[in-house]
């Protein structure tokens, strides 16, 4: 564990120095955690007055006394999905960068020639991806809650966040997603010498998240705690499978003989 922390400590310093990783994340975070929720809450009145919107809300939620509160709950469900963007995006940027960088500088062989265990090396790389993803998700969770609650209280005189669903997304679903993406990124990066192709995976894995947002906006379904827990269960079952694959990829002999090197 100690060795994994050493890997994590060194790599996190490099991540912080790498603007191409954290600048897009910062931009996405500010946009989805502060600007969009702020605009949505401020524009709530005009949305509620729109007869089409009122009809849509009635279709999704059924009859409701307070269309503004129903609309706000609908918007919150969208932002809850946005919370999953960071755990999906960040590992798909960090994990390939970390592995391709090792390949570029030929540091893997001297590194695995130290007494470090391959499980510690894998854990160190995983922490480098997951810790920032979870930290930023947590910050976003707090920021959205503050923005929505402050503006929502002014408008509706009520606190709308956090809901149990938000806790499930933040503390259960987002770590599971970032773990899976990290493992998949590591597996793909072992076969790639080009950082961009390895990072291209990020775009692919974010697609299902956009699909859920689209389906919700289209009124096809609404995510509730039941769906979220089911999602956690299904994805939780995927975790040991991707971990097993990643451990196989991280075998010393595999690294030296099967990984595609520069």
């Amino acid at each position: 564990m100690n060795n994994a922390l050493k890997i994590f400590k060194k790599e996190i310093k490099e991540v912080l120095k790498n603007k191409s990783i954290w600048l897009p994340i910062l931009a996405v975070s500010i946009m989805f955690s502060v600007i969009f929720p702020g605009i949505m809450v401020i524009a709530l009145d005009s949305f509620a007055k729109d007869p089409d919107m009122a009809g849509f809300i009635a279709r999704v939620f059924g009859a409701t006394d307070n269309i503004q509160v129903a609309l706000m709950q609908f918007i919150i469900k969208q932002f809850m999905i946005f919370l999953l963007l960071i755990p999906a995006m960040l590992p798909s940027l960090i994990a390939p960068a970390s592995i391709v960088l090792e390949k570029e500088s030929n540091t893997l062989e001297p590194l695995i020639a130290t007494p470090i265990k391959t499980s510690e090396l894998l854990l160190g790389k995983t922490l480098t991806s997951m810790v920032p993803a979870f930290t930023i998700t947590l910050i976003n969770f707090v920021l959205i809650t503050i923005v929505v609650d402050v503006l929502g209280y002014i408008k509706l005189n009520m606190l709308l966040l956090p809901t149990p669903e938000w806790f499930v997304v933040t503390f259960l679903l987002s770590p599971i997603i970032s773990f899976i993406i990290t493992m998949i990124s590591i597996i793909i990066s072992s076969k790639s010498t080009d950082i961009r192709s390895a990072q291209g995976l990020g775009a692919a894995v974010i697609f299902p998240i956009y699909a859920i947002i689209g389906a919700q906006i289209g009124g096809l379904f609404l995510l509730n705690i039941k769906y979220l827990l089911l999602g956690c269960l299904v994805l939780g079952l995927v975790c040991p499978l991707v971990l097993k694959l990643a451990i196989r990829v991280f075998d010393r002999e595999n690294i030296l003989t099967k990984w595609k090197m520069k």
Partner: protein, 303 residues
């Protein structure tokens, strides 16, 4: 320190290392020579527990390789074919990072970092990013990394490649000094002069072991010993005289010297000398020229 018995490694249908056996004594320097693709790096990787052998046994420091990977890696230092340093952090950060995986007291670790950076003239630039270093500086830093935990065994893969003559000399002196430190050195090199000057035992490999012995034994065993005769007069007039000796090959006359090869000089040389003296030749020197490692190596590899 290292005992290798019937070691083989196959990658699919390709046999990289074919049934090799050798023993390396504690504190000795073992020169490992061979052409590209001869299995040198594969052997180092097996001995470093980085890849598993297909068959055979290896015992290092009394411990079986396959069951003691972590221990074996903790007592060895390795210089890989390429320096392999993190270029976006400084030299001192690199050494701090790598040395952190070995059990060492913090004070000793810091002392060693300073000692080796100073030894390899890198102390002044210890805080500069390694990416700004020259090839030679990176190589020296990689050697410092291999030594930082004072390993019992040192695997050096082409240690002086990419170094300027002064740095190469420094590294060679350093390797020689390892004998005093009782470090066992496994020296993989293409530089035959380096191998012959430093190694106690030389092993020539081309997937399987072609020859393994001390340099003196190799020289003694070489067929066709080269003889040099230095005359007090021009040598050319004695060249025809050697046609009487059918055992003589590769005859060459240059100014006052004659060179030739013989398989059995102990028998033929006295007769040659007698005949030459009888013919009035004034012989200044009569020498056996010892074969260089390069000649022996090329002979063995070609055969």
């Amino acid at each position: 320190m290292i005992q290798v018995e019937n070691l083989s490694k196959k990658f699919g249908n390709i046999t990289a290392v074919d049934n090799i056996s050798f023993e390396i004594k504690d504190g000795s320097i073992f020169g490992f020579l061979g052409p590209n693709g001869a299995g040198k790096t594969t052997t180092i990787r097996i001995l470093s527990t980085l890849i598993k052998p297909t068959s055979g046994t290896v015992i290092i420091d009394g411990k079986e390789l396959s069951k003691n990977g972590e221990y074996i890696r903790s007592i060895l230092g390795i210089l890989t074919e390429t320096p392999g340093m993190y270029e976006k952090i400084s030299a001192i950060e690199n050494l701090n990072f790598f040395s952190g995986f070995y059990r060492m007291e913090e004070k000793k670790r810091k002392q060693n970092i300073e000692k080796f950076l100073k030894m390899f003239d890198l102390w002044e630039r210890r805080n500069a990013l390694v990416g700004t270093y020259s090839k030679g500086m990176k190589q020296k830093l990689a050697i410092a990394r291999a030594l930082i935990h004072e390993p019992k065994i040192l695997y050096l893969d082409e240690p002086t490649a990419a170094l300027d003559p002064e740095s190469a000399f420094m590294v060679r002196s350093f390797i020689e000094n390892q004998k005093n430190e009782k470090t066992t050195v496994f020296l993989c090199t293409h530089n035959l002069e380096e191998a012959s000057n430093l190694s106690d035992v030389v092993c020539i490999i081309k997937n399987r072991i072609i020859k393994i012995s001390t340099l003196e034994e190799l020289q003694r065993s070489k067929k066709g010993k080269k003889i040099e005769i230095v005359f007090n007069q021009p040598a050319l007039k004695y060249a025809d005289f050697f046609q009487n000796f059918t055992e003589v090959t590769n005859l060459e006359a240059k100014e006052n010297k004659i060179y030739f090869s013989l398989d059995n000089p102990e028998i033929i040389n006295p007769a040659i000398i007698k005949k030459l003296v009888d013919c009035g030749a004034e012989i200044v020197y009569f020498n056996e020229i010892k074969a260089s490692l390069e000649e022996i190596y090329l002979d063995l590899i070609r055969s």
